[in-house]
Symmetry: C2
Subunit: 178 residues, 2 copies
DNA sequence: CCGGTTCTTGAATGCCATGCAAGAGCAGCC
DNA sequence: GGCTGCTCTTGCATGGCATTCAAGAACCGG
């Protein structure tokens, strides 16, 4: 019944579009990249993108999924490290994604798909951070609050320019929560 | 030389536009409010707004200035309070401004005027928070880091839904920094 | 009442996300 | 090999929106 050329093809083309979008959303910004520019970078037409994605927000979510998966993979590959170092790693590794962080928060209230992604992301982040804080010796009843503080501090550092030393000082002081 | 009707007039009309924009930016959101809607709410035409403001971002900055001034006035009127209570007051008082917080961060990288306002805001916030933390007994060398943590936590709480109790827990734990 | 200045406006202009209808290319089936 | 039904792809709209422009009103000092 299905007249699919190669079963791979669809996913490959989709991936090319997501790759192009990722580079532009990260380096130029979501609001400042027209669909036409993504299309050009991917070697297709604007309309073609709409065959693979419902709208620009859906494409954004696909980019976010890809970026998140890639970061998780790298983090796993980095192996075990002291908690402070892990936090610093996240902050420096994700610094270049600040545009994504900002646009997600900006679109959460008007785009249901972005809002869903945001919820999923925080659920995941909470789990990982809580685990880290537990291992670092934070009291069980303080875990939820410590976790949220860490999330907000990380997001804040990602969206505000700062130097290496500031980040270190903040992470060190965060250790006072234990 | 200047053929000004009444010297007041200009500022009055300007204020009406800013009031209309404030209500819409706060309740509906900057991106979701067309200039035409602001104009209609202010009883003028889109073009008229451009006589008073360079562009939509300049109008946003005017709204931010007004909202900030109003919050500072209220805060001063609230009188002296324990540090924890002051932080909670800020969080609950500014909760309804979450859309403004998000849009500022989203536009910082593409709008110079918004970027300037953002810088000024953080300079002001840093001063006030540092003073509060100092009074609350935070060690002098920890002040910069504690201040930034507080700023990021406040911004995080403003842009993420949470219940009253969570906010209290977080502020209490923040007290552990002293 | 005149000339210059401040406002105001309706009608462009141009960018952009998205929708639409008409094709291509391909896989099975006769 | 030609027909048919898919999956894609595209050029051409459409409509929303920020911003600009040229042409007035309204008003001031003289």
């Amino acid at each position: 019944m299905p007249a699919n050329r190669r079963p791979q093809d669809r996913q490959e083309k989709r991936a090319e579009i997501v790759d192009a979008a990722e580079q532009l959303f990260v380096d130029v910004g979501f609001e400042d990249t027209p669909m036409a520019r993504i299309a050009a970078a991917a070697g297709v037409t604007t309309t073609t993108i709409y065959w693979y994605f419902d709208d620009k927000d859906a494409l954004l979510v696909a980019v976010l999924d890809q970026v998140l998966a890639s970061a998780l993979r790298e983090h796993a590959a980095a192996g075990e490290q002291p908690w402070d170092e892990q936090l610093l790693w996240v902050i420096t590794r994700l610094r270049r994604l600040h545009r994504l962080v900002s646009v997600v928060h900006a679109r959460v209230s008007s785009s249901p798909v972005v809002n869903d992604w945001h919820d999923r992301f925080h659920a995941l982040a909470d789990i990982n951070l809580a685990e880290g804080f537990r291992a670092a010796g934070v009291r069980e009843q303080d875990l939820p609050a410590a976790t949220r503080i860490a999330v907000f501090v990380i997001e804040g550092l990602l969206t505000h320019t700062h130097d290496e030393q500031t980040a270190r000082d903040i992470v060190r002081l965060l250790g006072a929560l234990t």
